[in-house]
């Protein structure tokens, strides 16, 4: 509960800062907020309590605290990266209030032990995000993206709720543990309600039949919101999906294995095929993140301790690598307003350091050995192979080859292609520099040291 209380305290502090008569300078408030978020991150590692609260609706454990720390870290990195963009904005406290509200919702969703708490957390984490997507109020694309996001998220939560109501009718309880005891594949109402729940989850993690909103929302939103959507929001829902599938719906595993098999193959193939032809960097990363979800679903199909350990490890790696890529894109976008893949031609000539960071991030996303992304994907495929379904693993391996093509296309544009008017030299402020350093160190260190995976594995026992 401590982590949730801290986030709530920061939200109220920001509210009072906003309401006070004294006008704060934008730079000051950004620095104060970054320090607060850093304290929030650090305090998450101490005094971890375990147990349940509110009549078994809310539970905490060391694993959940660790997952929340990953989300805290991602939020802190995003807030550091968005410095250059928010400096030109006059609504800084509002932005962080919305962002921390969604973070609070994700914490409640992660800790939920009850469908009501889960639903409240999910809505708290998705409704303010729509307002954040619209944060560039005067841009046409921003409002279009927000409209698409609120409509699809409202529809998906409608589907999810219908599934929850059917599940309530079939079992008579909302508590996860009591539901888990009553599920069988013979009861078709339970399988039907599970399909609706999976559809709701599919919208949030943008798995393939439900992915259509992703690219448009990612392209139209401000870069900070795009990275928040693609890393934090998606990561938290994936954490919950793993624990819900393994703990609540383990009675239906024979049916959800086939569904996840189909969804993950479709997600990888379609995500990769569409990523091949993208010309906008944000859109390209949107489709690449769809393809990554396909790989994560393979890890989930493993249905073992290794399965959930590999998913959590991969999301941690994904936080570092995707945020490093988005960090460079957000710097370039804030300095020049250019977001096309072609604009990155000759980027190495003017910004060698940023080029290297972007290249390392893309190598990690593609899964090239010394980086952490390789080990993430390796553990996912290993967990998926535990079921002995080698067709799935073969399709995944072929898809990794396809994904190398489009990641390396960007790297080639940066290092080899000539350009008459490359992006000029960018002078980054201090806080984006720190964020880049954390991300790059994270990519390389979690790749070289195996301690992180072992730690997650030991938490799951």
């Amino acid at each position: 509960m401590k982590q949730e209380l801290l986030v709530t305290a920061i939200i109220f502090l920001l509210l009072f800062i906003k309401l006070s008569t004294k006008e704060w300078k934008v730079e000051t408030s950004l620095t104060v907020i970054n320090i607060l978020l850093f304290l929030n991150l650090v305090s998450g590692f101490f005094y971890i309590r375990t147990g349940t609260l509110f009549g078994d609706m809310f539970r905490t454990s060391e694993l959940l605290a660790f997952e929340k720390n990953i989300l805290n870290l991602g939020t802190f990195i995003i807030s550091l990266q968005s410095y250059s963009w928010l400096k030109q904005h006059k609504h800084v406290p509002e932005f962080f209030m919305l962002m921390l509200c969604t973070l609070l919702g994700m914490f409640f969703m992660l800790s939920s032990n009850n469908l009501l708490m889960f639903y409240l957390g999910l809505e708290l984490s998705s409704i303010p995000l729509a307002a954040m997507a619209n944060f560039d109020l005067e841009k046409r694309h921003s409002s279009e993206a927000a409209m698409k996001y609120i409509m699809s998220s409202a529809f998906s939560s409608g589907l999810l709720l219908f599934g929850i109501s059917m599940l309530y009718g079939a079992t008579g309880t909302l508590n996860f543990d009591e539901i888990a005891g009553q599920l069988t594949t013979q009861n078709s109402l339970q399988v039907f309600s599970f399909i609706l729940l999976l559809a709701g989850f599919g919208f949030k993690i943008s798995a393939v039949p439900f992915h259509l909103w992703t690219a448009d929302v990612y392209e139209g939103s401000p870069v900070a919101v795009t990275s928040y959507l693609s890393v934090i929001s998606k990561g938290s829902v994936l954490f919950v999906l793993v624990s819900v599938l393994y703990n609540v719906f383990r009675g239906l595993d024979a049916s959800w294995y086939k569904m996840l098999f189909l969804i993950s193959v479709l997600t990888m193939v379609i995500g990769n095929l569409f990523a091949l032809r993208q010309q906008n960097m944000k859109r390209f990363l949107a489709f690449s993140s769809i393809a990554q979800v396909g790989f994560i679903l393979i890890g989930i199909t493993g249905e073992s301790i290794e399965g959930s350990a590999s998913v959590i490890f991969f999301i941690m790696v994904y936080v570092f690598s995707n945020l490093a890529a988005f960090g460079v894109i957000s710097l370039v976008s804030a300095a020049t307003g250019r977001e096309g893949v072609d604009d990155y031609k000759g980027f190495y000539k003017t910004n060698p350091l940023l080029s290297w960071i972007l290249a390392i991030a893309l190598f990690s996303l593609a899964g090239v050995p010394p980086t952490a992304g390789f080990f993430g994907k390796f553990f996912l495929l290993l967990a998926g192979a535990g079921k002995g379904n080698y067709w799935l693993i073969t399709i995944a391996a072929l898809n990794m080859v396809v994904s190398l093509y489009y990641y390396l296309r960007v790297v080639k544009a940066i290092f080899m292609d000539d350009n008459e008017s490359p992006v000029e030299k960018i002078h980054a402020p201090l806080s984006p520099k720190i964020a880049m350093l954390v991300c790059t160190a994270g990519i390389i260190l979690t790749g070289l040291m195996s301690g992180a995976y072992n730690y997650i594995h030991s938490l799951l026992k």
Partner: protein
């Protein structure tokens, strides 16, 4: 009261769900699409109340869930309408066909 069978009421709620879905997919006006989503949420409310009343009358889980759904639907509508108003300012229209600059 309880001589109406459960299946009749469930028929109403499922019909409401699919009417909402049909409206969401065919209507092009954003406000009407929002109304369709409210229909979906209300069908869920009926489901919860019926299951609670007929199948599990000794507990109140379903009723509480309904109250929370109503509250959240109001919050969702507030944000959605704010976004629609902003969309109208920039596009001069609340038709979804006019807000489709980003494709594929």
């Amino acid at each position: 009261m309880s001589d109406i069978p459960v299946s009749n009421i469930l028929f109403v709620s499922i019909a409401l769900f699919f009417i909402g879905m049909y409206g969401l997919f065919t209507r092009r006006n954003l406000i009407t699409m929002l109304m369709s989503i409210e229909l979906i949420l209300n069908s869920v409310n009926i489901n919860f109340v019926v299951f609670n009343k007929y199948l599990y009358p000794e507990k109140l889980d379903g009723i509480f869930f309904t109250i929370f759904i109503i509250a959240i639907a109001a919050a969702e509508a507030a944000i959605a309408i704010a976004i629609i108003i902003n969309l109208y300012r920039s596009h001069r229209s609340i038709d979804v066909e006019d807000a489709s600059e980003m494709k594929y």
